[in-house]
């Protein structure tokens, strides 16, 4: 896969200066913490337990289908953490083999350096995944979301059917826009909405027997995977970059190329006021990290606080917005 053509030095320097001004000037005149509008739709695939479609201006379009299958515990009572983590399978498939239209493409390929991908997948040898390792962090956020170990709530609990049986959740993410580095925001909003719209059939056999479980075929009484009225909600991962002392949410491809530091922060909504818990932080590869002398090479502690703080402030609204959109569309159907 040929790497995308880099931005030219004057372009990068122009961007960098614009973004490090006070107040900063983003190329699309957004506020630092303003997101670009997204088009969202959910629960439109009849064969799936939950589904969603998200469209973004720059990152493109992606469809998520969630299917649940009944599975016998591989090691019955010996189900370990490792075994249980296999109950959720996330895969990210890039349409068109994941080759960015970089050759002579106008389809967004001419854009910039390796973008949006998490943690320098561009540097790992034998980079044979098309998704830049996205499946790994999506699943990680999902397992940690809702508090992970400490909060006593795990999505895995919801997947237990009866002793010896569980749901196996297949989360298939299909990126319709070919890119080597999918936007974390696109993938995580899509997975978030799909999960909020996921319903599992109601169990009709008793909980405590080892026989094959039976289910009601009435979807009206099916149980939601995430209760719409209670917390936690499915987590969301927000990309955030820093240029100078300024922090930007939902960075565009060019902004990532000009940024000095980048993080993807996974958050989970914990109450109705919109408070969020940080459940995961990961570094994101940005264009200028490790550039010339005298530039920032990493994230200072103060900057880290600011970056996480900016996400925490806005994430509640984003998750609530997504949840409301999901509910509206679910009940319309």
């Amino acid at each position: 896969m040929p790497p995308p053509t880099p931005l030219s030095p004057p372009e990068l320097s122009y961007l960098y200066t614009s973004l490090s001004l006070t107040p900063p000037i983003r190329l699309d005149l957004r506020q630092p913490s303003q997101f670009r509008p997204i088009i969202a739709e959910c629960s439109f695939l009849p064969h799936c337990n939950g589904s969603s479609r998200i469209c973004m201006t720059e990152a493109g379009e992606c469809i998520v289908g969630i299917k649940a299958e009944v599975e016998k515990d591989a090691t019955t009572k010996y189900a370990t953490v490792i075994e249980r983590e296999k109950w959720i399978e996330v895969s990210v498939e890039v349409a068109g083999g994941g080759v960015a239209g970089a050759g002579s493409g106008s389809g967004g390929g001419g854009g910039g350096v390796g973008i949006g991908g998490i943690s320098g997948a561009g540097g790992a040898t034998g980079r044979d995944e098309g998704d830049g390792g996205a499946a790994v962090w999506l699943k990680e956020g999902l397992l940690a979301g809702g508090g992970g170990a400490g909060a006593g709530w795990s999505i895995l609990d919801r997947l237990v059917i009866s002793s010896g049986w569980h749901w196996k959740l297949y989360i298939d993410v299909l990126l319709l826009t070919p890119t080597s580095h999918p936007s974390p925001l696109l993938l995580s909003t899509a997975v978030n909405m799909a999960l909020s719209s996921t319903y599992l059939p109601k169990l009709t056999s008793p909980h405590d027997i080892d026989d094959i479980p039976t289910f009601s075929d009435d979807w009206a009484i099916s149980t939601p995977l995430y209760e719409p009225t209670s917390f936690p909600k499915p987590p969301i991962s927000l990309p955030v970059v820093a240029v100078g002392d300024n922090v930007f949410l939902d960075p565009s491809v060019a902004e990532v190329a000009a940024a000095e530091a980048g993080l993807v922060i996974t958050l989970s909504l914990v109450d109705e006021e919109g408070s969020c818990d940080v459940v995961g932080v990961r570094s994101m590869e940005v264009g200028r990290a490790g550039g010339k002398e005298g530039e920032r090479k990493g994230i200072g502690r103060k900057l880290l606080r600011e970056m996480v703080g900016a996400c925490v402030k806005e994430a509640g609204e984003v998750i609530k917005g997504l949840g409301e959109t999901t509910q509206k569309q679910m009940f319309r159907a």
Partner: protein, 348 residues
């Protein structure tokens, strides 16, 4: 609300949007000759605004010549020749030449086009340039202005230093000089109008959204203390918006500066291929961003970008949010600006 979540819009057919001026302008004249033969059902498409699909008979009137996007087909029964469309698009006619213009297409270079491009690859004596065309264009070392004067001879030193002129990722504005048989363009920058681009931002829109004009380099006077801004509207849909710079005179350095004749050339070379931006004020940066948003919104809403629309759109954007910096460039705000600018155009 930091994020705007939009439910997908229902599919809108052309009939629903008939009153919308914003759609792609159809140049086809319904009163024209070709609309006269109206018996065949396959030709029905033409009555609804001159849109044809591949395989549709455009006309069998022998007075027309076939142009781009059409082919000749001999009917088996009557033996008469008819012109058949090979594209989905609108009919356009120039004198007696019939051609079909596709609504969406990749840029096809033509000689004399002003294009904005990005260097993809550096080879021994040439560059490969992305100009959004099916084939990347080439720019020969001999087709650029070498530092040290136009009449200077190209040396092997220049070949070795090829990256000091243009390197991978660099943006340039150039003219299509020749076309090879397979449609590959060869560019040149042998004029001080052309060359490396800096002091601004790059954006791309669909190639079909830039209207062909007399001049594709606009200079705009911006408000809010932004000063003058240059807009390079590449015919290929690549656009560069930069702070206005005084064009270098033919002899080299900036006007009004007296330097010896040898120094002059040095200055010209440095200025042409420098990678360093000039000092650009925050006001100018804000206005450059605003213009970029306007152009993006116009293209997104299906309005062809030309000098008039950029001006009107910019005015509309200023009226909508005089000092506003809360514009995502797309979505609702963009729509409003485009609508306002279309209203302005109708008024004129």
């Amino acid at each position: 609300m930091p994020i705007q979540i939009i439910a997908p819009a229902p599919f809108v057919t052309a009939a629903d949007e008939e009153d919308d001026e914003g759609g792609v302008r159809l140049d086809f004249d319904n009163e024209g000759d070709i609309a006269m033969d109206s018996d065949a059902p396959r030709r029905a498409g033409r009555q609804t605004g001159g849109i044809v699909t591949p395989g549709e008979v455009v006309t069998d009137d022998p007075q027309w010549m076939r142009g781009h996007g059409t082919y000749l087909c001999q009917s088996h029964e009557s033996g008469s020749q008819s012109i058949v469309s090979s594209l989905a698009g609108t009919i356009s006619k120039t004198n007696k030449l019939l051609s079909i213009r596709a609504l969406k297409f990749r840029y096809v270079p033509e000689i004399g086009d002003l294009v904005v491009g990005r260097i993809l690859e550096v080879q021994t004596k040439r560059w490969r340039v992305d100009i959004a065309a099916p084939h990347s264009a080439t720019l020969l070392l001999s087709s650029i202005n070498l530092p040290g004067g136009i009449l200077r001879k190209r040396t092997s030193t220049d070949e070795l230093q090829i990256r000091t002129f243009f390197s991978e990722g660099d943006l340039l504005v150039a003219e299509v000089q020749t076309l090879s048989n397979d449609g590959q363009a060869s560019l040149h920058t042998r004029s001080l109008k052309y060359g490396k681009l800096r002091n601004g931002v790059f954006m791309m829109i669909d190639a079909g959204m830039v209207r062909r004009m007399k001049s594709h380099v606009l200079t705009m006077n911006t408000s809010n203390g932004g000063g003058e801004v240059d807009i390079y509207l590449g015919v290929n849909g690549y656009i560069y918006i930069a702070k206005h710079t005084t064009p270098l005179t033919e002899s080299g350095g900036p006007e009004g500066k007296s330097v010896s004749i040898t120094r002059l050339e040095e200055e010209a070379s440095e200025a042409i291929y420098s990678n360093v931006n000039e000092e650009i004020s925050p006001e100018t940066r804000a206005e450059i961003a605003r213009i970029a948003c306007v152009i993006g919104a116009l293209a997104k809403n299906g309005v062809k970008v030309d000098e008039e629309m950029v001006h009107l759109g910019y005015e509309a954007a200023l009226e909508e949010f005089l000092q506003g910096m809360e514009w995502g460039g797309d979505g609702e705000m963009g729509r409003r600006v485009v609508e306002a600018s279309l209203v302005k155009r109708r008024e004129q």
